[in-house]
């Protein structure tokens, strides 16, 4: 089966700076893949490469098997919402829908787009520069969804939204996921928002892929160990370690068969703790296949 998004050694350089290096990943169709990492880690670059706005310096990127930059036809299968959710300032919401219809042809789902905006009470005759940040993001998402894309790429879509709008946005997205076969690539700083929603994780750090994998697998193979600060730490598999004067908390790689070392209490790990553990330790990493670090 062709992956929705597949990159091989994907690298992008701006001037002398590498924005992304040797990124190899494959997101299976039907997944919600989260891309997380510190600012400047290459998230936006990866997303713009995925939708063909950028051309790789090295390596390749394929969306459903085809390079998006060289096959404008494959753009029809991609919906993209950029970080600042750009819209044409002096066009109304209705104008934007009309634009989508004219530029995308028969695939354009006009009724559902209108219904979506009505549900969110966004007036169609409002100009884009008169919309709030949240409304802009919703209009941008509506345009992206009305194309009926197979891959939806969202760069920090919720950054500008208040907590309620964020939840609404993400719930809508989950509903859309259920309605049809759709792959979502989503970047966010708000890891709590990704919990229970994303099922595939990409952590980028310093322009490289640090962690890659199925969320359930990652959660199953990591755990939190709590023990005395002066206790003997396990020999291997430690991702991060934090200590107060009495107590030490470790995030470790382990699987169901790994016995809990004596003197420690093991607890399941949350996605947020997992991500934070890796972000705090840029040298640790989990990659599938032979190129993964030992």
């Amino acid at each position: 089966m062709t992956a929705a998004l597949e990159t091989t050694g994907l690298s992008k350089r701006y001037g002398r700076t590498w924005a992304l290096r040797d990124c190899t990943l494959a997101v299976p169709h039907g997944r919600v893949a989260a891309v997380v990492g510190p600012n400047g880690a290459g998230k936006t670059t990866l997303m713009r490469l995925a939708v063909g706005l950028r051309r790789p310096t090295r390596g390749s990127v394929a969306v459903f098997g085809r390079a998006p930059r060289d096959h404008p036809a494959s753009l029809a299968r991609i919906g993209f919402v950029a970080q600042e959710t750009p819209l044409y300032r002096d066009l109304t919401v209705a104008d934007h829908l009309e634009m989508g219809r004219r530029l995308n042809g028969h695939a354009w789902d006009r009724p559902s787009a209108r219904e979506r905006l009505a549900k969110l009470s966004i007036p169609l005759d409002r100009r884009a520069d008169e919309l709030s940040g949240g409304q802009r993001a919703q209009v941008a998402l509506t345009i992206a969804l009305a194309k009926r894309p197979d891959l939806l790429v969202l760069d920090e879509p919720v950054a500008s939204l208040d907590p309620l709008a964020r939840r609404t946005f993400l719930s809508e997205l989950m509903g859309e996921m259920a309605a049809r076969e759709l792959t979502v690539l989503l970047s966010s700083h708000l890891i709590a928002d990704l919990e229970h929603r994303c099922d595939y994780l990409v952590i980028l750090s310093d322009s490289r892929v640090q962690v890659l994998g199925d969320v359930d697998d990652l959660l199953a193979t990591h755990s939190v160990l709590v023990g005395a600060a002066d206790g003997t730490t396990p020999a291997r598999g430690i991702v991060s370690s934090q200590a107060t004067d009495r107590q030490r908390t470790l995030v470790v790689r382990s699987d169901a068969d790994t016995p809990t070392p004596p003197g420690w209490v093991a607890e399941p790990i949350s996605l947020e703790d997992l991500v934070l553990a890796y972000l705090s330790e840029p040298d640790a990493g989990v990659l599938p296949g032979p190129e993964g670090p030992s």
């Binding site: 919600v32 989950m174 996921m177 259920a178 229970h196 099922d199 399941p268």
Partner: protein, 130 residues
Amino acid sequence: MIGFRLDGRSNVVPYLQLVEQVRRALRTGLLEPGDRLPTVREVAETVSINPNTVLKAYRQLEHEGLVEGRPGQGTFVVGSLAGPSLASHAVLRRELRAWLRKARAAGLEPEDIEALFGITLNAFETEGVA
């Protein structure tokens, strides 16, 4: 129709939480055979979780023979966990209330009662199986 919710602090993985909620509803008679479960989309949207998790939960329930997916119509309850015991719920509940009154009179706080019940139930099950 039942509403799902997710306990973020729970150690139980999300799909099992959903499965457990259906089981509980079946046990208490909140759901009966013939009832329709909310669609995957409805659950994904209201709980705001990945629909694959909902699908996984529904598949598990189907596998257990509790529900059945009917193409184009939805997922329907076919099995029941309430069984014949449902009728005796009222009596048991009355007896439990009487016991709770005694426990409170003896100075037990709700946490103490929960702990005591948990420990006793565990011990009882272990003995019972043995």
